[in-house]
């Protein structure tokens, strides 16, 4: 009995001791791990700091401006390129049973209800050879005319064209107090018409669609087909520039010019960056 009691207590003490030692070593391990992690975190923080400094250094506005001038076809924004949201026309509500009537749009928006022949060619299809485009556009519209269903006369994408045209052609500032009469003026010759057709985006194959399928649903299609070149007009007045960035204009950029740009503009390589930093840390001289 006595021996068993001793054995019991002795075993308990030994077990407690073992567990205690084990825990102690575990804790020690974890502490070491923690210290290692802390060291790592500090190192990481320091490298993050270095990278942030380098990022800021490479984002120097003067440098960015130089790069943008060399590689982008963008110019500083001008006041006339801003349009107040209030001066934009609302999208006209769809009126399925209403009689087709001219959509009152401010500015010189293209009136969709007019026959296509009235609409100035330049405003419509600046990219394609003009007479052909007009003929193609004009063709489905008279075919539509005798149809009794009015819905086909107000197709959904047509107002979209007007929105875009209005957006593009409204004077930059339309004071809300002076509503512009919805008159169709003859649009001035757009710069895009002056650009050789080769310098532009290839016309979409869509104009062929109405010819192939003169169904009423296909009728609005020629209009969106005229859209991409029209939308490109404000951004594409740079035909004669041999820039590798003008990919839209030139599917295959000429190799020598690309090489020249590469050579002339000092491109910071990923491996160079710390060297640049060295250069900046002037005390190393």
């Amino acid at each position: 009995m006595k021996g068993k009691t001793w054995l019991f207590w002795g075993g308990l003490i030994a077990a407690a001791g073992a567990v205690l030692f084990q825990t102690s070593y575990d804790v020690q391990d974890l502490e070491e791990k923690l210290a290692g992690l802390n060291r790592k975190i500090v190192t990481e923080q320091e490298s993050i700091q270095v990278l942030r400094a380098e990022w800021s250094y490479l984002n120097d506005p003067a440098k960015l401006e130089e790069l943008a001038r060399a590689h982008l076809a963008l110019q500083p924004t001008e006041a006339r390129q801003f349009v107040a949201l209030d001066s934009l026309p609302m999208r006209p509500a769809q009126a399925p049973d209403a009689a087709p009537q001219p959509l009152p749009l401010p500015g010189r928006g293209v009136n969709p209800a007019l026959p296509a022949s009235v609409v100035p060619v330049a405003a419509r299809a600046p990219s394609a050879p003009a007479p052909i485009a007009t003929a193609r556009l004009a063709a489905p519209v008279p075919a539509q005319a005798p149809q009794p269903v009015n819905t086909a006369r107000v197709p959904a994408p047509t107002p979209k064209l007007s929105m875009d045209k209005a957006l593009e052609k409204t004077p930059v500032i339309v004071p809300a107090a002076l509503p512009v009469a919805p008159t169709v003026k003859s649009a001035p010759i757009k710069p895009s018409t002056l650009i050789p057709a080769a310098a532009k985006a290839p016309p979409a194959p869509a104009p062929a669609a109405p010819v192939a399928a003169p169904a009423p649903t296909a009728a609005p299609q020629p209009v969106p087909a005229a859209l991409p070149p029209g939308k490109m007009a404000p951004n594409a007045p740079l035909p004669p520039m041999n820039r590798p960035t003008d990919i839209a204009n030139r599917p295959i950029p000429p190799a020598p010019s690309a090489g020249k740009t590469q050579a002339s503009a000092p491109q910071p390589k990923a491996t160079d960056s710390l060297g640049l930093l060295v250069a900046r840390l002037g005390a190393n001289r």
Partner: protein
């Protein structure tokens, strides 16, 4: 075998020990019992103390001794000095941890080999110098300070015994020259020596985790500096200063002083280069001061904008004769005095108001003490003392008092923003925090001053500052520089203080060019309207979109009704024939033709 209870056992032992002294057995027993009591008490106390300590140590002390390692807290930095960032969070100054290489020459067995290896890894070191250091008798020599991680790696790879690294910090300015006059620079041991580094040195060191956010916008700063450099080059000027100022909050959005310097290496520079013209330099502002003279005149209630003043006869006082730069030889209204920048009219206006009122007004505008700007480089204005009649006269057109450009801009902001003077600050104002301000002129005066500003740009001396869509207003200024006791004829300070949009002013753009030389393009003029105004126009054109200022039609009725003023002092634009408000007509650019941005391709 059973043991008797401990008390009984002890008693037996004691009894055996004390057996011999029979006669005093009872006394001995008493004594023994007493001793036992004491011993038991001591033992009980000690053991209960140990027990209490055990309980405290195990249950109440959260697991024993304090730990050696703690997890790092979030949002801490490893550096000892806080970053400085601009209002968009771009770094302007930061501390980088670098390693500095030192050696203990005693531990280096073959100095020639070690030096050769080291020079191969760090080519910028000199072999002889390194060899000399390594073969010396010292126990510590610096070999190279502030190595980059790459260099440190290269030296590590060599594995030269006796060389070690010491962790150091180094201040780094990613924006470089762009913000040099604002941020300043630090010395070798990272104590601030100029600019904000000096002004906020304590704050930067005490709270290294929170970056110091400025109200500066790096983009505006770039535009401002670029245009100033272009203007300096065009007019072969010796320096320039520029400020973009938010009139509603008093924040400085951009501030440049040229020439500037590389804050990384500010030693050995001309003191002129380190001089901040925008805040430390005090200058006679010239006609720009007519802003304050006109505001004073209108605010006094004694003068209305339609009143006329004689601008024909020169004023003689003492040995001075005050004359107009280009006289119109007739009486001018207040609006025309401002439009043509007439000295005579200004003097006569100041005479009507009186010396005391002028002095009080200039004090209210902050022209008698340094500005509230946080930079340590804040100049004391040079104010005449005593303030005599002749001083009053010259101050009316901006001579005889010297203030810094920052003074002028902060005061002009209060004149056009509705009359509230906000102390200028270069720190970002926290959103929602109240903006300190003091009403210095009435709203009506401020409204009239806006119209006068606009009038100068539509039909006055500042036409070339106009930018379509942004309703620019402003005032030109040209001051002859004083050399010794005399004014120089051909060295002047040309400035333009522009504000936009004038129907609801938000920003002031101020440009001061030091000693511009006239060019053929400006027909021999180097005045504010020819030199500084075009620069302001170009700056506004570029920063307007960045500042999100909506463009408006300048001939729209609501804009005209807020900004119109004609030479007679009438603000009723509707009375004019429709073609008279020429605000919207594009003025052919006058003066400077240097554009830092190439003109867009003219395809439309």
């Amino acid at each position: 075998m059973t043991l008797p209870p401990p008390g009984q056992l002890l008693r037996r032992v004691f009894a055996a020990l004390t057996h011999r002294s029979k006669p005093s057995a009872t006394a001995a027993m008493e004594q023994t019992r007493y001793r036992l009591m004491v011993t038991a008490a001591v033992v009980t106390t000690v053991f209960s103390a140990i027990g209490v300590k055990l309980v405290i140590a195990t249950l109440f002390s959260h697991g024993g001794e304090p730990r050696q390692h703690h997890a790092l807290e979030l949002d801490t930095t490893t550096t000892n000095r806080a970053d400085i960032i601009d209002r968009n969070g771009n770094l302007l100054a930061t501390s980088l941890v670098t390693q500095s290489l030192y050696a203990d020459p005693k531990l280096i067995s073959r100095p020639d080999e070690a030096a050769r290896k080291l020079v191969s890894a760090l080519p910028e070191l000199d072999y002889k110098e390194v060899y000399g250091k390594l073969s010396g008798d010292k126990r510590f020599v610096w070999l190279k300070r502030n190595l980059t991680p790459r260099q440190q790696y290269a030296v590590h790879r060599l594995g030269i015994p006796g060389m070690s690294f010491e962790r150091e910090e180094r201040r780094f300015y990613p924006a470089g020259n762009l913000t040099s006059h604002i941020v300043g620079f630090t010395g070798v041991d990272n104590n601030g020596l100029a600019g904000l580094e000096q002004g906020f040195s304590k704050r930067l060191n005490e709270d290294p985790a929170t970056p110091l956010q400025l109200s500066i916008d790096l983009r505006l700063q770039h535009v401002l500096r670029k245009e100033l450099i272009a203007t300096i080059q065009e007019f072969r000027a010796i320096g320039a200063a520029g400020i973009v100022f938010d009139v509603r909050t008093g924040e400085v959005m951009a501030m440049t002083s040229l020439p500037d310097f590389d804050p990384q290496d500010p030693t050995g520079l001309n003191p002129e280069t380190l001089f901040n013209r925008a805040t430390l330099g005090v200058y006679e502002m010239g006609s720009t001061f007519k802003i304050f003279n006109s505001a004073l005149a209108l605010d006094s209630g004694k003068i209305r904008v339609t009143d006329t003043f004689d601008a024909v006869h020169p004023i003689k006082i003492g040995r001075f004769t005050i004359n107009d730069y280009h006289s119109l030889r007739r009486a001018l209204t207040v609006a025309e005095v401002f439009q043509h920048s007439s000295n005579l009219g200004s003097v006569r206006m100041a005479q009507v108001v009186g010396i005391a009122a002028q002095r009080a007004f200039m004090a209210k505008m902050g022209f008698t003490r340094p500005t509230a700007l946080e930079l340590p480089e804040s100049g004391w204005p040079l104010v005449p003392n005593p303030w005599r009649e002749v001083n009053s006269m010259t101050i009316s057109f901006g001579h005889g008092i010297s203030v810094s450009p920052m003074h002028t801009v902060a005061a002009a902001a209060s004149v056009i923003n509705g009359g509230v003077f906000h102390p200028p600050t270069i720190l970002l104002r926290q959103p929602g925090a109240p903006i300190p301000g003091e009403q210095v002129v009435s709203r009506q005066t401020s409204d009239m001053m806006r119209r006068m500003f606009r009038f100068v740009v539509t039909e006055g001396t500042g036409k070339s500052a106009g930018v379509k869509g942004y309703v620019v207003g402003g005032k030109t200024g040209t001051a002859d520089k004083q050399k010794g006791r005399h004014y120089q004829k051909n060295s002047r300070m040309s400035s333009f203080l522009g504000a936009f949009p004038m129907h609801d002013p938000r920003y002031i753009v101020y440009v001061l060019i030091d000693e511009p030389q006239a060019t053929a393009k400006t027909y021999g003029y180097a005045t504010g309207g020819w030199v500084a105004a075009p620069a302001v126009g170009r700056i506004i054109k570029q920063i307007g979109p960045l500042l999100d200022v909506p463009t408006v039609d300048e001939s729209a009725p609501e804009i005209l009704s807020a900004t119109y003023l004609n030479a007679a002092g009438s603000t009723n634009w509707a009375q004019q024939p429709p073609n008279t408000p020429t605000a919207a007509a594009p003025n052919p650019p006058k003066g400077s033709t240097v554009a830092s941005v190439p003109a867009p391709a003219k395809t439309r």
